[in-house]
Amino acid sequence: MRFLLRRALFYLVTAWAAITINFLLPRMLPGDPVQAMIARFQGRLSTDAIASLYVLFGLDTQTSMFSQYVTYWGNLFKGDLGLSFTYFPTPVSEVISQSLPWTLSLMGVTTVISFVLGTMIGVYAGWRRGSWIDSLLPIATFFSAIPYFWLGLIAISVFAVTWGAFPAAGGYEPGLIPGFDWEFISSALYYAVLPALTVIISSIAGWILGMRNMMVTVSSEDYVTVAHAKGLPERRVMLGYAARNAVLPSISGFALSLGFIVGGTLLVEMVFSYPGIGYVLFTGVNAKDYPLMQGIFLIITLAVLLANLIADVVYLLLDPRTRKA
């Protein structure tokens, strides 16, 4: 319990630091959205127009950095992340809450599937090394070595364009109204198949390799020999003794990869024009949309911290050696 409290304190400090950096970073970048607009209109904006743009974006007030910082924190606690420039005048929190569920469901589910499947294959491959399962390794590694955007584009050209089995872009049938009805959900699932498959195929090798190698290491531990000597059924030795110990490093890797879902989704969503948070971030960066970028970075930071905290707790549950007596 004390351990958990100490960890929680650590995460609070880290969160504060991350949020502060998040505040400073865009303000240290050269240029602002109005400058970007001026550039876009190649100086054909009058000074009046420029002044009104500053007022419109709320960038007209000359306040000190510190008071901006205080306001920033105050707004943060109210859940107010400002207005998005690109989706003006939609609040950033609304933009995020619309796109986040897409990312979480697509990437969350695929990450879990990839981890569970890869770990299971790794357990068998490590337990029966030299069997046919080992021949999966080069294939899986090959796919994970291909740059993701390339794999995605090939999948689109083969399955969507040539074969026409799956849609090439989007998150659901255009024209459907998002809601909790079967028509919409089945359409969303259908649109998610191709991005999900490519993500699984490109990420599964890591889980297989990691688990297989840990299984090989753990299989030669004395307690596994003892378990054999005790005459336990092979399944019990494999799962209860070998895999149970071998999975520990993979578990922390998994928790961390959950944290990177939000950040790591950019490429997937760009390739498949998926309406998730990565796609929104991409648009936001292009448009120098500070509030949106800040909001998304904040979400990413919090997701990573939360995943770390979960990893700590899960580790505590799974490995009694990390518990303080």
Partner: protein
């Protein structure tokens, strides 16, 4: 004395083909009911390999290339352990033969409690036991090895090295086996703990009547705790005798060397001699008697031919006494026999 386990002509190789290392060569060994048989030898002499082979726990690339391991169960026909099916083997393990391994620190699953590791044994071998019976038996076992029952919920890392080894012994006793193999059970422990655990083990043997195969490099422990001693060198048994005979009048120069490498705990002081040289590389075992390059009394026959294990009359008419040394073949050596150096 009736045998409980009989090893006949057992050979074990590591690897296959021309590069194979013959870790154990044609070993014959009999463990009698209720006795403590000591097996001693330097590192790499094949004693642990022998133990793993007879329980078929040999990790790859270890390979049993020949021989039989006969188990004479109570009121049962002898069965060859090497011929058991996977299912029979599982039931044979721990029911009939339990092992206490050398790594006291790593023999327990670090993520399970003592109780759940004991439960695994009952669930695999005694599925009819109820939860209450199981926990009662576990508590009883811990009490047997001198650990209070409230440690059942403990994880291995919460126990000291000595306690972990006691827990292992308790586990070995769980199904009341006829044979317990102790493979260097006390190497990771200090001398005081060593003694306590061995004495406790011997007390339990008196009470429960199992046989022990006690493997160690520490021959002084064997002299004290075992009934008979077999000495291994380079994968072969070179001498077998009752502890008393072994201690007083070992016939093989290697046994003498081993005995001279430990200080005597009792009796008059004698100088430590040790054995010159180091154990042979098992990939290139010397010709003839593998011990001849280190043997103080080697002569030309030793280099040419491998001595066979031959009977030697022991005191009290012990018929199992045997030695593999040309010094005991008078026609070859010109020496009078036993004890000649």
């Amino acid at each position: 004395m009736t045998p409980v386990l009989e090893i006949r002509d057992l050979s074990v190789d590591y690897g296959q083909g021309a590069g194979a290392v013959h870790a154990v060569s044609s070993v014959n060994l009999v463990l009698n009911r209720g006795e403590v048989l000591g097996l001693a030898g330097e590192s790499g002499s094949g004693k642990s390999t022998l133990a793993y082979a007879m329980t078929r726990l040999l990790p790859p690339p270890g390979l049993i290339t020949g021989g039989e391991v006969l188990h004479h169960g109570r009121d049962k026909e002898p069965v060859d352990v090497l011929g058991l099916t996977a299912r029979q083997l599982r039931s044979f393990r721990w029911n009939d033969i339990a092992i206490v391994f050398q790594g006291a620190m790593n023999s327990l699953n670090p993520v399970s409690t003592v109780a759940s590791q004991l439960d695994d044994i009952y669930r695999a071998h005694r599925p009819e036991m109820s939860r209450g019976q199981r926990s009662k038996r576990s508590a009883e076992l811990l009490r047997l090895v001198g650990i209070s029952a409230d440690r059942l919920g403990a994880y291995p890392h919460q126990l000291s090295g000595g306690m972990r080894q006691r827990v292992m012994i308790a586990m070995a006793l769980a199904l009341d086996p006829e044979i317990i193999i102790m493979d260097e059970p006390t190497t990771a422990l200090d001398v005081v703990m060593q003694r306590q655990i061995l004495e406790q083990m011997m007390r339990l043997r008196e009470e429960l009547g199992f046989s022990v195969l006690f493997i160690t490099h520490d021959i002084s422990l064997l002299v004290e705790f075992s009934d008979r001693i077999a000495i291994m060198y380079a994968g072969r048994i070179v001498e077998q005798a009752a502890s008393e005979d072994m201690y007083r009048s070992s016939a093989h120069p290697y046994s003498k060397g081993l005995l001279g490498s430990f200080p005597a705990l009792h009796g008059p002081r004698r100088p430590l001699t040790g054995i010159p040289g180091s154990p042979p590389d098992m990939r290139t075992v010397p010709s003839g008697c593998p011990f001849h390059p280190r043997c103080p009394s080697a002569f030309d026959a030793c280099e040419r031919e491998i001595p066979v294990l031959e009977k030697l009359s022991g005191t009290n008419g012990d018929s199992s006494r045997s030695v593999a040394c040309w010094l005991n073949t008078p026609s070859l050596s010109g020496h009078p026999g036993v004890g000649a150096t």
